[in-house]
């Protein structure tokens, strides 16, 4: 398999996952904004590292609407949902011979649908429906990959991209939102704003999952544990890094070589696997997450270097 193929599949996975995460995040934020009209928009802007640009714009309601447009369809935002889907489709199109018809057609169908929606007047664009179909279709595309793709290196790169992106998204959401809700890093449940914390879980679609696991009231420490350390939660950082490590090992077995990316993937997986949430809070959640996010981004660079993706 060519490095260019590996690169395309890796980025297809990343972009598709990015669109999906963003869609879910916007939905959760909108709900929250409707229910409490607080500083939610600013919080989302922080997740995308755009607080300053955001603060300069006008009234709050307007600002949330314009932020959503920026995240959904802005042409100048390379990570907007529409741009991400277009990029994933470009990657897939170049590799049509390396993916199944099911994967290609479901991704292409999503792109066609978005293009059709964008052709009409902006004022009439139903953003809610657009976000909903991105969420739905992305699940279909990953599902098609799951049941139809040959389990070979190509699949490993697609999975690597998707899980690395997802680990980064969850880590970033937890880091930024936890800090907004508890600037002092205190994980006690006292004076907890139920709606704000359930919205944090909603960002990774885990409100009901939380109840299923803990069967009790919301507690910041458990929320952090669920999002970071629970291996059985498919969007937790731990689960994603476990999958990254697994795919790295399959590649190492196939290629018979190992490098820095393999070491780092194994180390990150082990760090989350053996971490304990009370110890994490002793160190400080922000410190722990800061280092973790730094290492995830180093891992992404190392993968690029090792497999000649750049």
């Amino acid at each position: 398999m060519l490095s260019s193929t590996a690169k395309n599949l890796y980025w297809m996975g990343r972009y598709l996952q990015r669109a999906k995460s963003t869609a879910r995040l916007i939905e959760a934020t909108q709900r929250m904004a409707l229910q409490s009209r607080g500083e939610e928009a600013a919080g989302v802007a922080a997740i995308f590292g755009m607080e300053d640009e955001f603060r300069q714009s006008q009234a709050q309601g307007q600002r949330l609407a314009s932020l959503i447009d920026f995240l959904v369809l802005d042409e100048n935002n390379p990570s907007s949902i529409v741009n991400s889907i277009a990029a994933a489709r470009r990657n897939a199109r170049e590799e049509r011979n390396n993916i199944t018809v099911d994967v290609w057609e479901s991704l292409n169908a999503l792109w066609l649908e978005l293009s059709a929606r964008l052709r009409g007047k902006r004022a009439n664009l139903d953003r809610g429906a657009l976000i909903e179909s991105v969420k739905k279709q992305a699940v279909m595309i990953f599902g098609a990959a799951q049941v139809t793709l040959l389990r070979d290196e190509a699949n490993n790169f697609l999975q690597l991209g998707a899980f690395l992106e997802r680990a980064d998204n969850t880590g970033r959401i937890l880091d930024v939102k936890f800090h907004l809700l508890r600037p002092d890093g205190n994980p006690s449940a006292e004076g907890l704003d139920y709606f704000a914390w359930s919205e944090l879980l909603a960002c990774i679609g885990a409100v009901r999952t939380y109840r299923r696991i803990y069967r009790s009231s919301l507690n910041p420490m458990k929320v952090a544990e669920l999002m970071m350390l629970r291996r059985d939660v498919p969007r937790s950082v731990h689960h994603c890094l476990w999958m990254v490590d697994l795919n790295m090992r399959e590649l190492a077995d196939a290629y018979g070589t190992r490098g820095e990316a393999d070491r780092l993937a194994g180390e990150l997986h082990a760090r989350l696997r053996y971490a304990r949430i009370d110890r994490v809070f002793e160190i400080g959640l922000a410190t722990f997450l800061g280092q973790l996010r730094g290492d995830i981004s180093t891992l992404s660079e190392e993968i690029g270097r090792q497999f000649l993706l750049d």
Binding site: Q30, R31, A33, L34, Q35, S36, R37, G61, G128, Y194, F195, S198, R208, T209, Y210, R211, R212, I213, Y214, R215, S216, S217, L218
Partner: protein, 478 residues
């Protein structure tokens, strides 16, 4: 009662818009009919896709239908809600005190406030529950108290539902629909959230476990997917993260209840049951029941499992006990009732019976154990033949009926085929009683979609609306 109908939006002084509805009125004025029509179409799709359906009694096997949802919300100002909240809490406390007493010493009978036969001869009395000491003395953990409004300040309790009241899933789902389909209206007003209901319900259920010192295992017992409220059972179990069980999933061993799991039996401490009393335990109640668990009542009596709501609550919420609730408030709490009852004639009293027979065409007559809008006569809208037919029923068993004046229920603007028109509404808030009393701000607003109709039941063509309680600082509705 006053013939003039109170419209919750338009009956401000001099026919102006009432303050809490200012936002709704503005929205109605500036939203195009096309936009509204498009939104209404989306609603039904939304409900069907989410499977939020109910099987009406008497409908074809497996037929699922959605309850019509009206997108114009019903708005309640903060101070109005404060008043209702106080009144509802008081009523729930009195009903719980009464149920404890009814299955205990019956002090209220000895004091001569309620005749003992009112309790003991009641078809809903469950002798097996006599003398039970329930955690916190709570019997009615979840109460759906139906309110009607007839004027700016006049709310009445129409009935108390303390057996297995349903409808709360619509409170939560209607809110989801409104946020999704009319975000601009939602954003223009400051609406108190209701999404924490499941959290509060789970906390309530956990707080009434008999067992101290270990994490209580709570389950929801459903009659199964043929039940008309099955969607709600599954919805609540999912929201709370607890198991949704049928009778066949549970068994009793040495007075403990267990659920069957692949890991072996797992102990159950609290059962939120949506199965009627008569079907709960074939050993103690109806032997032909396949919906219950053999030995369940034994486990309850042994103090090993709590059943929510408690057994035999029907003695507190039938239409004849209803007339005594204000007395219960005075007797148990030493307070004056905040929420008033609708004046009621009891047909088992000679004077009342005589009056009722003479005024059938003006009043509403209801069967004491009737529900779902059945077994009742709405005098003013009934034909002569219907009245005659009902007279025969009434004469056969006067003690089975009560009667009330025809209330001019308040109306709310509602979308109908001809546009926006006033339709009559009621309100069912849900009161949770455990270690404390919790009422999420809002409730189920039911609306009679037929012009002039006062029957809001979903089985009789009623629909629902989202109920918006406005936050205190912006109670003016902007």
């Amino acid at each position: 009662m006053a013939a003039k109908v109170f419209d919750e939006m338009n009956s401000g002084s001099d026919g102006s818009i009432r303050e809490p509805y200012r936002g709704v009125a503005d929205w109605l004025a500036r939203t195009s009919p096309e936009r509204v029509a498009a939104t209404r179409n989306e609603v039904d799709l939304f409900y069907r896709r989410h499977g939020i359906t109910f099987g009406a009694y008497g409908a074809a096997e497996g037929a699922e239908t959605t309850i019509p949802f009206d997108i114009i919300p019903r708005v309640i100002a903060w101070d109005e809600w404060q008043y209702l909240h106080k009144g509802l809490s008081q009523r729930a406390r009195a009903l719980n005190a009464f149920l404890s007493d009814a299955y205990g010493q019956r002090d209220i009978c000895r004091a001569g406030v309620i005749p003992e036969e009112q309790i003991l001869m009641n078809g809903e009395f469950v002798a097996m529950a006599q003398g039970l000491q329930l955690p916190g003395g709570v019997h009615a953990h979840i109460a759906g108290i139906d309110l009607v409004r007839v004027g700016e300040k006049d709310f009445f309790v129409l009935e108390d539902n303390v057996r297995t009241p349903s409808g709360v899933s619509y409170v939560l789902e209607n809110r989801e629909v409104m946020m999704r389909l009319a975000p601009e209206l939602f954003a223009a007003m400051s609406v108190l959230p209701v999404a924490d209901y499941s959290e509060e319900l789970l906390a309530t259920l956990r707080s009434v476990s008999f067992s101290d010192g270990h994490e209580p295992n709570v389950v929801l017992l459903t009659p199964g997917h043929h039940n008309s409220a099955y969607f709600e059972h599954a919805f609540l179990a999912d929201e709370m993260g607890i198991e949704l069980v049928k009778g066949s999933d549970l068994f009793v061993d040495e007075s403990r209840v267990y659920m069957r799991t692949p890991r072996g039996p797992q102990r159950v401490d609290v059962i939120y049951r949506r199965v009627d009393d008569a079907f709960l335990d074939p050993l103690a109640m109806r032997p032909d029941s396949f919906l219950g668990v053999a030995g369940l009542l034994g486990a309850l009596r042994a103090g090993r499992v709590n059943i929510v709501n408690a057994l035999g609550n029907g003695v507190a919420d039938d239409k004849s006990t209803y007339t005594y609730v204000p007395e219960m408030v005075r007797f148990y709490l030493g307070e004056e009732p905040i929420l008033q009852n609708v004046p009621t004639w009891r047909c088992d009293r000679a004077d009342d019976y005589k009056y009722v027979l003479e005024h059938l065409s003006e009043i509403v007559v209801k069967e004491i154990h009737g529900s779902g809008g059945k077994g009742m006569l709405v005098g003013p809208t009934s034909s002569k033949a219907e009245i005659e037919e009902f007279t025969a029923l009434l004469k056969a068993r006067p003690d089975n009926y009560i009667a009330q004046p025809t209330l001019a229920l308040s109306t709310c603007p509602t979308f109908v085929n001809q546009g926006v028109a006033p339709r009559h509404v009621d309100l069912r808030p849900f009161v949770l009683s455990g270690k404390k009393i919790t009422i999420v701000p809002g409730g189920l607003t039911r609306v009679a979609l037929k012009e002039g109709s006062l029957v809001v039941n979903s089985s009789q063509g009623g629909g629902t609306k989202d109920t918006w309680v406005l936050a205190p600082d912006e109670a003016d509705g902007r």
